[in-house]
């Protein structure tokens, strides 16, 4: 079987949809953050795949992917700090219970 760009993309979209599914259905804030990591990694896979299969010799896609990984690390650090702060404030990380700004 000849592995082409389509296979990468299919894996990427499955990862992305799984991420969206987790983000929109999980109640636990930490799980939602995991879903976001999945979405980001789906995007990374896309970037790497397009870089590998593009005719040009540049490594732009790989560089972007590295940036996104760093960004994801930073985002995870900040977001987990926020989740910790929320937990201190509300004693829960269930998202639908944190609705004091809705009203």
């Amino acid at each position: 079987m000849n592995i082409g760009i389509e296979h990468y993309l299919v894996v990427s979209i499955i990862l992305f949809l799984l991420g969206v599914f987790i983000v929109s259905t999980r109640r636990n804030g930490i799980r939602v953050l995991m879903g976001i990591e999945l979405i980001l990694n789906a995007a990374n896979l896309n970037l790497i795949a397009f870089n590998r299969f593009s005719p040009s010799a540049s490594a732009n896609g790989s560089v972007f992917a590295v940036f996104v990984i760093i960004l994801a690390a930073a985002e995870a650090a900040v977001a987990l700090a926020i989740v910790l702060a929320i937990y201190q404030q509300f004693s829960t990380v269930h998202l639908e219970e944190i609705s004091s700004m809705k009203h």
Partner: protein, 672 residues
């Protein structure tokens, strides 16, 4: 701006400003603001003196004329209406007369009206009157003349009815206003005729047009007689004289200012001002002369038997105005206007004097008076001077002017023997005038007090009232020196040139007959005045002749005079009854026909209004409510989307993005 223009603006502006201020703040000012209009009119008097000195003394030119005209409104396809000043010798003299009398009356009023209700409003009205009267003499066209003509009428109405809680005063002011309105309507018609034929309003331009025959023949006569109608109303000439005696219901200083010295003389002034129009029509001049004659004679005979001191003076005023009108009618222009000036001084003095008597005695009936000479020495002396002046005794002002009028009438009569009755009538009226005026003096100041308890409380008025009396007395004497030996008045106030060109009047008599007429008239008028005084002396002082027994002997004549020739009763039976009848007919028409029609249409209207009410309530309101409900439902539905849970938003956004991706081909085709 030239000095005359500034003076004119200031002279009318001061009383107008004080009227506004007094009306707005009068009650809150100290002394109820009486000093404000008084100060304003005294300033106007000073400016009037400046104007007089500049025009009469410094210029000394019979043809002096300054005109200042400003476009008010109109133009661009319609008639132009101007506002402007027409300043000549006559204007200067009139401004002087009006401001002097008005200033003195303001001063007198401070004493006379002291403690009356609405004291502040009284002074506001006086200011309004002063403004209107000064603008009347200063204005330069028929349009402004008519406006001020009505304005003085309004102020007269307000001041006659000043004691409005008295029914007689309320009726009198209404009568005065409506009676003069009759004349004013004619005047308006006259102005309309002038506008229709000439199309201009400015005095000088209208006179030019008349001199060039743009308005001539019968139409000119009609226009002139209509304009004269205004003077008949305002100057209380027969047959519209009935309002003036009733106007005595107003405060006495008002009678002196408005109903003796200035406003009633406005008619004479108007005839003098528009003399080129009148003198161009021989017939109009005859109408003027005879109306004046009838008025002069018959008002004088009424004055003999009246018992109210102010009514005697009122009829005397009517009679003297008749003199002036006759003088203008026979072409004795200078004499008529000179009499206007002298009469303003001595008649204002007589009224203020009678005001002083009334103030002291609280009665205006002659039978309540008598013997007041000792109690009111200043009032007595000044009124005696005025009486000598009005009777035409030599060396007093009335002698000069009355003698000049008689001379003019005599010259006119000698030229046209068929019009000799004018002179004879005026001559007899002069005797009657001397008689009734001395009757007034004898009954008021001489003999025994007839009502001792009133006499006991009588006292001389305060100096704020006696100073105007003394000033006017001085003017009543000095005013006479304008005419002797061809002094300034004779030289400066001459009939406009158009009069000479158009129609023969007294001026055509030639030097000789005029001089002859002058000396003859002088001798005759002295004789008749002295015999009137002597007769009065015999009847009312010496009691050699009993007035009562003669009244019985001449019962019909006495009744005729006492009941004022039944003119009021005649109007009551004819014009007023007719008007009341018409009023009743209209009322009935209103009640039966118009109300009937309304009643018929009412049920129909009710039906349609019920229908439209229902339509409104159910259909229109229903639609509005429906819309509101639909909006509410839509709002409620759209709030469901906003759950506030971020995950829902993400899901919705993702679904929408997926939908856009799937359908993007269709969407692009939609916009292609």
């Amino acid at each position: 701006m030239e000095i005359y223009e500034i003076l004119a603006w200031a002279i009318i502006g001061l009383p107008l400003a004080s009227f506004g201020l007094q009306l707005a703040f009068g009650k809150r000012l100290p002394r109820q603001g009486d000093w404000l209009p008084t100060g304003a009119i005294w300033l106007s008097l000073i400016l009037g003196i400046v104007l007089f000195v500049k025009v009469i003394v410094l210029e000394y030119d019979p043809h002096f004329l300054k005109q200042y005209s400003y476009l008010w409104f109109g133009g661009a396809g319609m008639m132009e209406f101007h506002f402007g000043f027409h300043i000549d010798n006559l204007t200067a003299v009139m401004v002087m007369v009006v401001t002097i009398v008005s200033a003195l009356v303001h001063l007198f009023s401070i004493g006379y009206m002291h403690g009356e209700d609405c004291y502040d409003r009284y002074f506001a009205y006086l200011s309004l009157f002063s403004f209107s009267m000064l603008l009347l003499v200063l204005c330069d066209n028929l349009f402004v003349l008519y406006i001020t003509w009505e304005l003085v009428g309004v102020s007269s109405y307000l001041l006659i009815g000043f004691f409005f809680w008295k029914t007689s005063a309320a009726n009198a002011c209404m009568k005065a206003f409506l009676t003069t309105r009759v004349g004013d309507v004619f005047m308006f018609l006259g102005i309309m005729l002038v506008v229709r034929e000439i199309g201009l309003l400015n005095y000088s331009k209208v006179f030019d047009a008349v001199a060039h025959g743009q308005l001539n023949g019968t139409l000119l006569t009609i226009a002139a007689v209509c304009l004269f109608g205004g003077a008949v109303g305002k100057s209380a000439q027969f047959p519209l004289h009935v309002w003036l005696p009733d106007a005595m219901e107003g405060p006495t200083p008002v009678s002196a200012l408005i109903h003796a010295a200035t406003m009633v003389a406005a008619g004479v002034y108007m005839v003098g001002r528009l003399f080129p129009i009148f003198s161009a029509s021989h017939e109009a001049m005859l109408v003027i002369a005879y109306i004046g004659l009838i008025t002069a004679f018959f008002a004088a005979t009424i004055a003999i038997t009246q018992t109210d001191i102010k009514r005697v003076l009122a009829y005397s005023t009517v009679s003297q105005l008749g003199y002036m009108i006759t003088a203008l009618g026979v072409g004795a222009f200078t004499a008529g206007l000179y009499h206007l000036m002298t009469h303003a001084f001595f008649k204002a003095l007589l009224f203020l004097g009678s005001g002083s008597v009334i103030h002291a005695l609280h009665s205006q009936e002659l039978p309540d008076m008598g013997g007041l000479k000792k109690k009111l020495p200043i009032t007595w002396a000044t009124m005696l001077i005025a009486t000598l002046a009005i009777s035409g005794v030599p060396f007093f002002s009335g002698f000069g002017s009355k003698d000049a009028i008689l001379a003019g009438a005599l010259a006119f009569g000698m030229e046209n023997p068929s019009h000799m009755p004018i002179f004879i009538g005026l001559w007899l009226a002069a005797g009657v005038t001397a008689f009734y005026m001395f009757r007034l003096i004898f009954l008021t100041f001489y003999g025994e007090p007839r009502v001792p308890e009133k006499f006991a409380h009588a006292h001389e008025s305060p100096s704020v009232m006696t100073i105007p009396l003394i000033t006017l007395a001085a003017l009543s004497v000095l005013g006479g020196f304008g005419l002797y030996g061809g002094l300034w008045f004779n030289h400066l106030i001459v009939a406009p040139a158009a009069a000479h060109a158009a129609e023969g009047a007294a001026e055509h008599g030639g030097e000789h007959s005029e001089h002859f007429a002058h000396y003859l008239a002088m001798v005759l008028s002295i004789i008749v005045a002295l015999s009137g005084i002597f007769l009065s002396y015999l009847v009312y002082y010496k009691k050699k002749i009993s007035a009562e027994s003669w009244a019985v002997k001449l019962r019909p004549l006495y009744d005729l005079s006492f009941h004022k020739y039944w003119v009021d009763e005649f109007y009551d039976k004819t014009a007023i009854r007719f008007l009341l009848w018409i009023r009743m007919v209209f009322a009935r028409f209103d009640n039966k026909v118009i109300d009937g029609l309304v009643n018929i249409t009412a049920p129909g209207l009710r039906g349609t209004s019920t229908f439209s009410g229902a339509w409104d309530k159910y259909v229109v309101d229903g639609l509005v409510n429906l819309l509101a409900i639909a909006t509410q439902i839509a709002g409620a539905a759209s709030t469901l989307i906003q759950s506030g849970v971020i995950q829902n938003y993400i899901l919705k956004a993702s679904l929408a993005a997926g939908a856009v991706l799937l359908l993007h081909n269709y969407i692009i085709r939609l916009f292609a």
